[in-house]
């Protein structure tokens, strides 16, 4: 097991370097540079001003030199400074946006699990029942509904017409003067719509997936055996079948680790939530190379770690994989 782990970890290093190298080259190949965007179409920006900015950002060096400089800083865990006018450390810019992104994604994942797993189980246990069919229709509608449209509709209904929920943002005007319980309630109200909407699309895939796994397990011999022993249906399903049906879910959870820090631009823009999606999008549009690379590195590391976690935990729960039988 430990040898396996070490091997996996070692193989990540060339992979990461490859990912960063390709990203670095591609983003620099894209037309436009941060200097262009700050000086183009600006009559007051002379060629001298451009050259000055380029030198400040080190963009006058050959590309491979720029990459090695970046890589050597990265190895010291120095993400560098943003090229945007604020010139702040990239690490700060990412860290201030992580908490809210993670919070919303974790809540939404929890909601998906809490709803999709039961739906999947019931649908599998009673295939083609009315419940199965209606949830199928419902989740596919959810799957097909554009998030931004649904979000705006909910805002209009719950926010403007009923006035129950806030429309956007994550706190009210005077939130800093509230008592603790009031503040918590205010924050909760602000999170209801974003979490619901972001979970909505994921429900479909997950409940289908759960239903499929469950159906497969229910068809296995040992379930027939359990039933033959005279165990109650409840017990058969929840004790014997569910454990095995949940195993593939672990893989899915492992794969969703990078998703926890990657926001969505459309979603964050609509709810005015300053998350990672916005940061990444804006930095790409402004060709803010350090921020783009910083976000990509974190994303790549998390993806690889998530994969590893999924594999390892799978091995832990499934003896067949561990012993190679």
């Amino acid at each position: 097991m430990w040898v396996y782990l070490l091997k996996r970890l070692a193989s990540m290093i060339p992979l990461l370097i490859g990912i960063t190298l390709i990203s670095f080259v591609v983003i620099h190949l894209a037309p436009g540079s941060p200097v262009d965007l700050q000086t183009e179409m600006n009559p007051k920006a002379s060629p001298e001003a451009r050259a000055r900015l380029e030198k400040l950002y080190g963009l006058d060096q050959p590309l491979h030199v720029q990459y090695f400089l970046w890589l050597s800083r990265m190895l010291r865990l120095d993400f560098g400074r943003s090229f945007s006018p604020d010139g702040r450390p990239v690490a700060d810019k990412i860290l201030e946006r992580l908490p809210i992104t993670i919070l919303i994604n974790v809540l939404s994942l929890a909601l998906i699990l809490a709803v999709a797993v039961p739906i999947g189980i019931v649908s599998a246990v009673r295939p083609n029942s009315l419940f199965d069919k209606s949830t199928t229709v419902f989740v596919f509608i959810g799957f097909a509904t554009p998030t931004f449209w649904l979000a705006l509709l909910c805002m209009l209904f719950f926010g403007v017409h009923l006035g129950w929920l806030p429309i956007s943002g994550i706190s009210s005007y005077n939130a800093d003067q509230m008592s603790d319980p009031a503040w918590l309630w205010d924050r909760t109200k602000h999170l209801i719509l974003p979490v619901l909407i972001s979970a909505f699309g994921g429900l479909a895939g997950f409940s289908r997936y759960m239903r499929f796994n469950m159906l497969e397990v229910i068809g296995q011999d040992y379930i027939t055996t359990a039933r033959a022993k005279g165990l109650s249906e409840m017990r058969v399903i929840l004790k014997h079948a569910l454990r095995n049906a949940l195993m593939p879910v672990i893989t899915v959870l492992g794969l969703s680790v990078p998703g926890l820090i990657g926001g969505s631009v459309i979603f964050e823009s609509i709810f005015a939530i300053p998350g990672m999606g916005q940061l990444f999008y804006q930095s790409v549009m402004a060709r803010d190379y350090p921020v783009i690379m910083g976000s990509l590195v974190i994303g790549a590391v998390l993806t690889l770690v998530g994969n590893l976690l999924a594999d390892v935990s799978y091995a832990v729960v499934d003896p067949r994989i561990r012993t190679g039988k």
Binding site: E40, A49, L53
Partner: protein, 561 residues
């Protein structure tokens, strides 16, 4: 970001010709520049006033599509940052509501006979927000930072024209230029930075980037990245304490969400699109809760031709296209009637604008005639004009994300089809658009817009020396007489002389049609009806922000004292 015009109290000369960057589905000119002051006083509450009387207190919440980036005025070029910095800082001069330069931190100035020396006499008794006195040292320091090669500013050029800047005494600064330079005066609208907090430090790493200290009507309170920026009224402001005590800018990147927030009362002020203005804000309910304002924006949209392209070398062809494009149709279709036809690079009703130069009238017959004279005829009967066996086809490029420019392109495509010209409209992402097409002059025609700066300097966009890659005369317009007139108008302070030159230039441009000037849109704003004291003027509505107020009986937010 999509062009958001924020014609803030202090319009940096830098904003002179900022093209409308668009992001998202914002319409041009839908975003007048109004900034948010935030206020919170530490003085005793006012005695109750009669109903409807000006009163201190309350807050104004404004929506902004983009977050600010850097609150030191010289270091940022985005409109969100300027809007906030414009409330925190003052320049030496500013524009009044009729777009005339008046003193701000400078009480008055004298210009020498030969126009090369300007003496600024500064206000006495002004204090920085941290209580330190403001003196001429600060103004001189700001100049030195501007010309320092280590300062990453895009605005150094006007200041590099200065030969010498010196202090006569603590409240007088003398600036000497090599020759009279008309844009010089306006360049001193740049926010003055506090010497005592910045001297000897790396300005890019200064805490003032996110925690500014200025002399302006509002003090900085807090900035939560991507969420909100809060300011509060400066009780000691030299023009008097602002009535509205707190001002908050909420960052709401999606314009549909912002509109819902406005409806729900979450924000008090936003720029509207023509659709929102004409269709979605007309119920009685709306009229009770909001006031709407519209005024001509300081910007125009144009169709520019690559004059190095053989098709567009002949001015008769350009004139023909100008006759063939129905501007009223564009204004009705794209702006829902909320705009005016443009005839040249100035805003109708301002002093440089020549009222005798009329926009080209819609006249497709005249267009065909001109094209025939230029040798374009349909010889093979395919419905397309041709010349030397080549059919008349070209592509109009515009930037992605600006819906009104795309619609404009489609309407022009349709109009030109009617006279036998086939047009393709193509949209390209902004950065690529600049780098790959504009800079390399790899385009046939473009639809873009310019903001119209308060100081009418045409040098960068129209002078033949500005046709190199990545300069602004990318259509390669070269006209010796225009060059001469631009220079003449630039190196004098005599408004009559300038006016004469600029009038003449407009006549020449109308004849040459290097651009087909399309329209000047209206800026459209909705403001909560509890906010009083707003008086639209040529400059917009933000100029008298400190005089806006909410009557005591209508105040919505209780600001803690």
């Amino acid at each position: 970001m999509n062009i958001r015009y924020r014609i803030a109290r202090l319009v940096l000369p830098a904003l002179v010709v900022l093209i409308f960057l668009s992001c998202g589905q914002k319409e041009e000119a839908s975003e007048p520049s109004v900034q948010n002051p935030a206020t919170q006083e530490s003085s005793p509450p006012e005695p109750a006033k009669a109903v409807g009387e000006p009163a201190y207190g309350d807050a104004l919440v404004e929506g902004s599509i983009g977050d600010a980036s850097n609150l030191i005025p010289m270091l940022s070029s985005d409109s969100s940052s300027h809007a906030i910095a414009g409330l925190v800082y003052n320049g030496l001069v500013k524009y009044d509501k009729d777009i005339n330069l008046v003193g701000d931190l400078a009480e008055k100035w004298n210009i020498s006979e030969d126009g090369t020396v300007i003496d600024f006499h500064l206000r006495k008794g002004v204090k920085w927000h941290d209580g330190s006195p403001f003196t001429a040292e600060d103004a001189l320091f700001t100049y030195k930072v501007m010309i320092d090669p280590k300062t990453p500013t895009a605005y150094a050029d006007d200041f590099l024209q200065v030969q010498k800047a010196e202090l006569i005494d603590s409240y007088t600064m003398r600036v000497t230029y090599k020759r009279p330079f008309a844009p010089a005066l306006a360049s001193w609208g740049m926010g003055v930075a506090p010497k005592h907090l910045l001297e000897g430090k790396d300005i890019t790493q200064s805490p003032l980037v996110r925690d500014p200290v200025g002399t302006g009507p509002y003090l900085f309170e807090r900035w939560i990245t991507g969420r909100e920026i809060v300011l509060r009224a400066n009780p000691n402001y030299f023009e008097g304490r602002p009535y509205i005590s707190e001002s908050k800018t909420r960052i709401i990147p999606d314009s549909a969400t912002m509109f819902l927030e406005l409806e729900a009362g979450g924000i008090d002020l936003m720029g509207l699109t023509p659709i929102q203005y004409t269709r979605q804000t007309v119920s009685d309910q709306w009229k009770k809760r909001f006031n709407k304002y519209s005024y001509l924006a300081s910007a125009y949209t144009y169709l520019g031709y690559n004059l190095e392209d053989s098709k567009f070398k002949d001015k008769r062809v350009r004139q023909a296209i100008s006759y063939a494009v129905n501007k009223q149709e564009l204004i009705d279709g794209v702006l829902l009637g909320l705009g005016e036809a443009a005839s040249g690079p100035f805003k109708p009703g301002t002093w440089p604008y020549n009222p005798d130069v009329k926009p080209y009238a819609y006249n497709p017959e005249r267009a065909k005639e001109l094209l025939r004279e230029a040798g374009w005829e349909d010889t093979d009967g395919d419905g397309l004009l041709d010349k030397d066996g080549e059919p008349f086809r070209f592509t109009i490029l515009t930037n992605q994300g600006n819906e009104s420019r795309q619609k404009t392109g489609v309407i022009i495509q349709f109009s030109l089809k009617a006279i036998g010209i086939e047009v393709q409209v193509r949209t390209v992402e902004w950065a690529a658009f600049l780098k790959e097409f504009i800079d390399k002059k790899k385009f046939e025609a473009v639809i873009l817009g310019w903001t119209i700066p308060p100081d009418p300097d045409l040098f960068d966009v129209w002078h033949s020396s500005k046709t190199r890659p990545s300069e602004l005369n990318f259509v390669s317009y070269r006209n010796e007489e225009v060059d001469r007139l631009i220079e003449k108008s630039r190196y004098t302070f005599d408004r009559e002389v300038r006016k004469e030159c600029l009038y003449k230039i407009q006549e020449i441009l109308a004849e040459d049609q290097p651009y087909t000037f399309l329209y000047v849109p209206q800026a459209l704003v909705a403001v909560s009806s509890r906010i009083r004291g707003i008086e639209p003027a040529p400059l917009g509505i933000a100029y008298n922000r400190i005089k806006w107020y909410v009557p005591a009986d209508q105040q919505k937010y209780k600001i803690a004292f």
